[in-house]
């Protein structure tokens, strides 16, 4: 067993875990934060995307013990109380989902995309940057649209730099 301390959505947590524990298992099973999903478990689908020290990573392909001390943001950490994050609001407004399974990963990737590429995103950039997120329902059209408007809204709300 290894002791792992993480700051998750602003709260410090310490748990003794098996060294094999993946970050996504730490979040879902030890912290009961089940918004982060496991789709493929092979680093391809992006449903498990979270932010590690501010950068998007696939939590199914990280050992919890290897990110000991890191600051983690999950989908549960984006909204401020009852107010959805602008990217979440854009996904709702533009119907950027059908079954919703990939949505947490899509949104975490989208927020990271804005951090790296800014708030004025064209369709080509969005589609290229979504390389690591797979959706089996939508055909991506409304996801791309939601990210475009979500990024714009983040710029207006001043959340892009967060």
């Amino acid at each position: 067993m290894a002791s792992v301390t993480l700051s998750v959505n602003g709260k410090s947590v310490t748990r003794d875990v098996d060294a094999r524990t993946l970050l996504v298992e730490f979040l879902r099973e030890h912290m009961r934060l089940t918004g982060t999903h496991v789709g493929c478990d092979t680093t391809q689908c992006g449903c498990c995307t979270v932010h590690v020290n501010g950068e998007a990573m696939k939590s199914c392909t990280l050992l919890a013990v290897a990110v000991d001390g890191a600051t983690i943001t999950t989908i549960e950490g984006l909204a401020k109380g009852q107010d959805l994050h602008p990217m979440q609001a854009a996904f709702r407004e533009h119907h950027g989902l059908q079954c919703g399974f990939c949505t947490p990963g899509m949104i975490m990737s989208a927020v990271d995309m804005v951090r790296r590429k800014g708030t004025d995103l064209d369709d080509k950039t969005i589609r290229e940057e979504l390389e690591g997120n797979i959706c089996r329902c939508t055909g991506y059209h409304n996801i791309v649209k939601a990210i475009h408007y979500g990024a714009e809204a983040m710029g207006k709300a001043g959340t892009a730099a967060e």
Binding site: A2, D18, A19, R20, D41, T42, T43, G46, T49, V52, E55, A56, M57, K58, T61, L62, L63, V65, A66, D68, S109, D112, M113, R116, E129, E131, G132, N133
Partner: protein, 263 residues
Amino acid sequence: MYPFNYHRPGTLADAVKLAGADEAKIMAGGMTLLPTMKQRLAAPSDIVDLNGLGLSGITVASGKVTIGAMTRHADVAGSAELQKAIPALAELAGMIGDPMVRHRGTIGGSVANDDPAADYPSACLALGATIVTNTREMSAEDFFVGLFETALQPGEIITKIIFPVPEKANYQKFRNPASRYAIVGVFVAKFASGVRVAVTGAGSGGVFRQNDFEAALSKDFSAKAIEGIAQSADSLNSDIHADAAYRAHLIGVMARRAVEAAR
């Protein structure tokens, strides 16, 4: 995953000592190792995580670019200094995997793993890079031995890779439409001393140099110069994604595109 002992040493000396254990595996970004362990294709007794060692960063000085082994793909792709010195190398790093993988995966890990469809080995070979470990320096030619096989000895750890700055270079990658790995990737580098061409994704023995293209391009650096040169399909991979003849054809196409795009 099978159980293992996890170590995150704080010094290179400790890492070397731990990595020398019989069934130990070195982990850099873990973007290949962890999926392999999850499928139980690898069962190391010990994981030696290099993330506590630093070993990252990019410096450009006197015609050479030095990249620390633990530098993430995203940092190689995003380096303004590298984009100026060897834009082809920065662009190559931006084509690896996806944004999330690029935030974690490292150049040292990719080079040490020597996946026959990986991108970096072609850049190392075409640019004539030097691979520096805790004990020695090796040319890329000596370093890459075969499929997933390098000259690294047990417990030997890559610390940095040194790339000579070419006059111009470019990397062209024909992606598998599903996995996005290179079916064929060609890196062309033009130096005052001549042109070097390295091919990844295609060779049944891993990354290799295309000597006929090199000779022709050294005389005349134009796509036309290699138009009539046939790439043999012998010793190229055939699989469900592409047969050897198709890969041979693609090597020519990708090489010509790289020459045209070189800067």
